[in-house]
């Protein structure tokens, strides 16, 4: 299992190669990409900023929790930081297991945990030259909503 932040383009084929194996018949993949529109505004790109030290540790905690919940699963995660253009992959998660159920369940768990817990923020850059933090006014989740913490 492996999880990393990276400033390099994501190579999903490489991630699949890390977790796929002859005894694992079910490999599942999620790729998050930068959308061209958000809330009706034309997006030119997104700058991803992370609390890097904590994000790395939180990614490893998410990996361990997924492995505990779904015995036998293997997982590879990469999340970008820095500036990305429209269509570029910001996150890739690949899971594998001998059967599709645990593989897909682990994939969903990891993606939702990343969305709700990983200390990463998006500064969205718009076509009109303005920029805005995504979800800056969002609700702060209660500690009890942060599964595994």
């Amino acid at each position: 299992m492996r999880a990393e932040l990276t400033t390099s383009s994501l190579d999903v084929t490489k991630l699949i190669g890390e977790v796929a194996s002859p005894e694992r018949g079910a490999t599942a993949c999620f790729i998050g990409t930068v959308r061209e529109m958000n809330d009706g505004r034309s997006v030119q790109g997104i700058e991803y900023r992370a609390y890097e030290e904590m994000a790395k540790e939180e990614l490893n905690r998410i990996l361990l929790e997924a492995a505990t919940l779904h015995d036998g699963v293997d997982i590879a995660i990469e999340h970008r930081t820095g500036q990305l253009g429209v269509g570029e992959a910001s996150v890739a998660v690949v899971t594998s297991h001998s059967h599709r159920g645990p593989s897909l369940d682990a994939l969903r768990f990891v993606v939702e945990a990343i969305k709700s817990r990983l200390p990463i923020w998006k500064l969205e850059l718009y076509a009109d030259g303005s920029r805005e933090w995504v979800n800056a006014a969002g609700d702060t989740p209660a500690m009890s909503d942060l599964s595994g913490t």
Binding site: M54, H79, V111, R117, I120, W133, M143
Partner: protein, 80 residues
């Protein structure tokens, strides 16, 4: 005791910096940190009940602090 407070994204923009050093009395909690930071210029933009972490782990605002701790006030996250 001394703690370092790190702030990010919209909170850092509001404060005009990403790090604040605080001297606090023994037994101080994360909530005391929030009270101090929100009184700084620009700090009113930070909610009184933000998500927080100590030494890279999420904690409740009632968590007691130790000398040298790194406290983070975490805006709503947006990974993925």
């Amino acid at each position: 005791m001394d703690v370092t407070v790190r702030v990010f994204a919209s909170y850092a923009d509001a404060l005009g910096r990403s790090e604040v050093d605080l001297a606090l009395p023994p037994g101080a909690t994360v909530e005391d940190v929030v009270q101090s930071v929100t009184r700084l210029p620009g700090g009113s933009a930070i909610p009184l009940t933000p998500l927080a972490a100590v030494n890279h782990r999420y904690v409740s605002l009632a968590a007691e602090l130790n000398d040298g701790d790194e406290v983070a006030l975490i805006p709503p996250v947006a990974g993925g």
